[in-house]
């Protein structure tokens, strides 16, 4: 046994024994705390409310109803079982034709019909997680670099780098211009990388942004496309949040830009889209990821690689049917936008009441909350973490600190609002409001007192949390059930095995 442990590194691969998957980060304290004490409106009203999970739970009722009304879409119902054999047998990595057509159709509708997608370019993958890894395998060799605007989705560190050996270099965005991505910033990062002799293969960005919830303006997107074309590097746009845009606003997909630009301005072989149904439709459990590329070789390669993460044929059939139902899709998209908009409105209004502002956003399942004014020290990530621990353990909300998204300025937090019902949201708001008022009182008291008291309190808290032996580091937090050992709520019927 002992010798095996010593040899552990040599016996297993480097990938299996390094921590490049990023899951050893201390941000899991938030999840662990939630797991130990999960909020439930009636059964555990003082528990921790999960606001670190970017899930869209607002429209599952619409989908559930559709499934009930369309038994033929299932291979298990009496109405649909005649398809069982063919579907159960179907493992062609091209995917069901009807599935690809339905996805292409849905993607077009989610972009207001302003673009159409070619079903022949639709390639399946194991969720967007699989899609992002696959596109890296297709475009880059180990050691190559991809630029990523920060703050960015924490799991990119794993998805883009872990098994691929690709390096990612952040393009930092700051609050000085509302975290807008500029071509100048990208150029600068590109230059710096070149100077350090790094081979930059492309730029990958999430649009709408996670964690910001903002969308790129058409002109910026155009200029980015022109930039990558000039430099002959790839542009991957993860449009996983495309349909989480609130009512009344238009999302500009890179597909639209590709159509608009003249052929000399855009080399389409460099443009790739990643998509998924996990956010727009709230179906992360079904593992529907899509790689869409304008480059034929990439489509071909990604398709072969999709063998490692095909969408279950049972799921393909169901979604092929659902997403070709125009009436359902149109209603769903409209209703989803509406509900998200309302939810976002209620939440941000409630925050404003206690002087908390969020970055102005039009999409996403979260807000990018500005709590810089509550930091002990506006320039320290340590105080961001302190504040975070207070929010998790005292205010009892699991939110995600900006540092976990590689934000370069302390004090920002991503707070999800679409993964709970209205009542829970109100409890969460109430808690925030109470906390802020108490804090304000404390601040006014302190104005006359010595600051040491606060620091002492903070230190005491620090000590308590340091018991979990965690040093401050900027390693990444992963969202969704993927990241936590046992994310399942103990109250879920699914756990009754």
């Amino acid at each position: 046994m002992g010798s095996l442990k010593k040899n552990g590194g040599a016996i297993l691969s480097k990938i299996a024994t390094n921590d490049q998957h990023g899951e050893n980060s201390e941000y899991f304290d938030g999840w662990k705390a939630y797991d130990k004490d999960p909020f439930h409106l009636s059964r555990n009203p003082h528990g921790i409310i999960q606001m670190g999970l970017a899930e869209n739970q607002l429209c599952l009722d619409l989908i559930k109803d559709w499934i009930k009304e369309n038994p033929k879409a299932s291979i298990c119902t009496p109405e649909g079982v005649h398809q069982f054999e063919d579907i159960a047998n179907f493992q062609d990595y091209h995917g069901l034709k009807e599935f690809r057509q339905a996805i292409a159709h849905f993607m077009g509708k989610a972009r207001g019909g302003r673009v159409t997608f070619d079903p022949e370019r639709i390639v399946m993958s194991g969720g967007a997680t699989g899609a992002n890894e696959t596109i890296m395998f297709c475009l880059a060799d180990p050691g190559d670099v991809f630029l990523v605007p920060s703050p960015y989705y924490a799991a990119f560190d794993r998805d883009l780098r872990w098994r691929t050996g690709v390096e990612i270099i952040p393009v930092h965005c700051s609050s000085s211009n509302n975290f807008k991505l500029t071509v100048e910033a990208v150029e600068w990062a590109y230059q710096k990388a070149q100077e350090s002799n790094k081979k930059v293969k492309g730029l990958i960005l999430t649009n709408p942004s996670n964690p910001l919830g903002t969308m790129l303006e058409k002109d910026t997107l155009k200029n980015l496309v022109r930039f990558v074309t000039r430099k002959n590097i790839h542009l991957v746009v993860d449009e996983i949040y495309a349909a989480t845009v609130f009512a009344g606003v238009n999302f500009v997909s890179v597909a639209e830009v590709v159509n608009d630009l003249d052929s000399y301005e855009v080399n389409v072989d460099l443009i790739h889209i990643v998509y998924s149904l996990s956010k727009d439709m709230g179906l992360p459990g079904f593992r529907v990821g899509i790689v869409y590329s304008y480059n034929d070789s990439v489509v071909s390669c990604a398709r072969k690689m999709s063998s490692f993460g095909l969408v279950s044929s049972q799921t393909q059939l169901m979604l092929a049917s659902m997403l070709s139902d125009d009436r359902f899709v149109e209603n769903f998209l409209m209703e989803s936008s509406r509900r998200l908009g309302i939810r976002h409105g209620v939440f941000t209004l409630g925050l404003k009441k206690v002087g908390i502002t969020c970055l102005s956003s039009d999409a996403g399942l979260f807000v990018w909350m500005d709590l810089r004014h509550l930091l002990r020290d506006r320039n320290s990530f340590e105080s961001e973490i302190e504040l975070w621990r207070i929010i998790v353990n005292i205010v009892k909300l699991n939110v995600s600190p900006g540092s976990s998204f590689r934000c370069t300025e302390p004090g920002w937090f991503r707070v999800c609002f679409a993964n709970m019902d209205d009542d829970t949201l109100h409890v969460a708001l109430q808690r925030i409001q109470d906390f802020v008022s108490k804090n304000n009182n404390k601040i006014s008291e302190k104005a006359s007192d010595n600051n040491d008291q606060i620091i002492q309190n903070n230190n005491a808290k620090k000590q308590k949390w340091r018991q979990s032996n965690l040093r401050l580091s900027f390693r990444r937090l992963y969202e969704d059930g993927l990241s936590s050992p046992g994310i399942m709520s103990p109250h879920s019927p699914l756990l009754r095995a």
Binding site: S3, L4, N7, I11, L12, S13, I15, A16, T17, H21, E23, E55, Q57, L60, I63, K64, K68, C76, T77, E85, I87, A88, N89, F90, G126, G127, T129, E133, F137, C138, A140, D141, P142, K199, S278, G282, P284, G285, F286, R287, N295, S297, V298, C301, S307, F308, G309, V311, S312, S313, Q314, T315, G481, G486, I487, M488, P493, L494, R496, A497
Partner: protein, 469 residues
């Protein structure tokens, strides 16, 4: 600088091989009893289509599973949101039990050591990522499943070094063959990380003997390397000798608390036993906690759809169903196998004696014009284009003796099998290939050129730039 990655532009995915080209020909002209009776009959697809009716009748009696319900309560929402890479607990429990049942309950499996993956394809690749670094090697007995070239090597950078098995002893894995393979790897400066066997074997259809398993355990123990046993066909064993899993041997030899125990890993799937390749259900089972932990995280790149996990957890937890299914499935496979063997015999063709799998390893050496792989491909082309049967030439499985073919029997109706066997008999009884006219030879030669000899022993590093070798 190349626009795409090396992986995208090389052909280590192996899809230019004859294994896949035969499929392409089939796709262009697929047999249909009524609509295309002169089309090509697919016998290159190791699918199990014999027992769907059993599953369909179960579905009929179990509407809850179909309707996202448990005990009448809707769990649609929970399933839609469930993406925990630890998998649905009820599914893993059911899977562990099913695997145990498949081994006559002689061993038990701990659901905590199970990792769910998107098919065995993903399970095998994931194990490579966990056990080997780019440039390391795994030893595989030949002939082996052509898909391994992609699954084990392509994105992982791992090399495969063959353990040569021959017809002289029924393609059994011998001690000397293992040692020779290991030495060959050393000569090529490759660090051997383990051995991978498929038990029951694809393409041979035979179960690994206790003696072979003992050799293997002894070998990996001495060399301090891993053993992966891909037991994807474990439920297709239809006659004696029975199936012996390497886990059983470990238990019998009381090796559960040793180092070796942690270096044995099993791959499983529902694609062959239950005939559900579309559902993408694969499993890694490992006694090494680090491997389980790493593989679990990696499964993020290919989780099983929650609706599929739920359906199958209900199906596999029904012990009446599983018991009956395994038994009935085996009976049907045995019958089908018998028919194929008899039909081949009638055409004067023998196969390797087998007790499992969805195919036979057929000996057509006597039909070759010469004992070469060129002759094998010539014969294969005739069979595909003239006899109109898509079967898999042994060279695509890296067999080192020309003349062997894998012929599947469980992916078609009985009538279709009869048609196929008739065609074969007519071909064999007809004018022998040695008396064919020159023009015939010419015509066949011009149909697709393939460099088979390159294919048999090529290592992927030949595809890389010279300076990287």
């Amino acid at each position: 600088m190349g626009l795409l990655s090396r992986k995208a532009t090389c052909n280590t995915h192996g899809q230019d091989s004859s294994y896949f080209l035969g499929w392409e020909e089939y796709e262009k002209n697929p047999y249909d009893e009524i609509k295309n009776p002169n089309g090509i009959i697919q016998m290159g697809l190791a699918e199990n289509q014999l027992s769907f009716d059993l599953i369909e009748s179960w579905l009929d009696k179990n509407p809850d599973a179909a309707n996202f319900q448990r005990e009448g309560q809707s769990i649609f929402r929970e399933l839609a949101l469930f993406q925990d890479y630890h998998g649905l607990p009820s599914f893993k429990n059911a899977m562990a039990d099913f695997m145990s049942e498949n081994r006559g309950n002689r061993v038990s499996f701990d659901p905590k050591k199970l990792v769910l993956t998107a098919g065995a394809t993903s399970a095998n690749e994931t194990l490579m990522f966990c056990l080997a670094d780019p440039g390391d090697a795994f030893l595989l007995p030949t002939p082996y499943y052509p898909g391994f070239d992609r699954d084990l090597k392509w994105r992982t950078g791992v090399e495969i070094v063959p353990i040569q098995c021959t017809s002289a002893n029924g393609f059994r894995i011998t001690k000397s063959a293992l040692e020779e393979a290991y030495e060959q790897a050393q000569k090529l400066n490759l660090k051997v990380k383990g051995v991978l066997i498929t038990n029951p074997s694809n393409p041979l259809g035979t179960t690994t003997t206790r003696s072979e398993l003992n050799h293997l355990l002894d070998f990996i123990s001495r060399k301090n390397i891993h053993l992966i046993s891909d037991e994807i066909y474990s439920g297709t064993v239809f006659t004696s000798p029975g199936f012996i899993s390497v886990m059983e041997v470990l238990k019998e030899k009381k090796l559960e608390n040793t180092d070796v125990f942690k270096r044995v890993h099993i791959v499983y799937s529902l694609s062959k036993d239950l005939g559900l390749p579309g559902f993408r259900v694969g499993v890694i089972y490992s006694n090494d906690d680090i491997v389980v932990a790493a593989a679990t995280k990696m499964s993020s790149f290919g989780l099983i759809s929650s609706q599929t996990q739920y359906l199958l957890s209900a199906l596999l937890s029904d012990k009446n169903f599983t018991k009956n299914y395994l038994k009935e499935n085996q009976i049907r496979l045995k019958n089908r196998h018998k028919k194929l063997v008899a039909g081949l015999e009638a055409a004067g063709i023998e196969c390797l004696k087998s007790n499992a799998g969805l195919f036979c390893w057929v000996d057509m050496r006597h039909l070759l014009t010469s004992n070469t792989f060129e002759a094998e491909i010539e014969l294969w082309k005739k069979i595909v284009y003239e006899v109109k049967l898509n079967i898999s030439p042994g060279s695509s499985c890296h067999c080192n003796e020309p003349g062997w073919f894998r012929v599947c029997f469980a992916n078609m109706s009985e009538e279709t099998l009869k048609v196929a066997l008739n065609r074969l008999k007519m071909f064999v009884d007809g004018p022998s290939s040695t008396t064919r006219s020159q023009s015939e030879h010419q015509r066949l030669k011009s149909l697709r050129k393939m460099k088979v000899s390159n294919w048999v022993f090529r290592l992927s590093f030949h595809d890389r730039e010279p300076e990287e070798r």
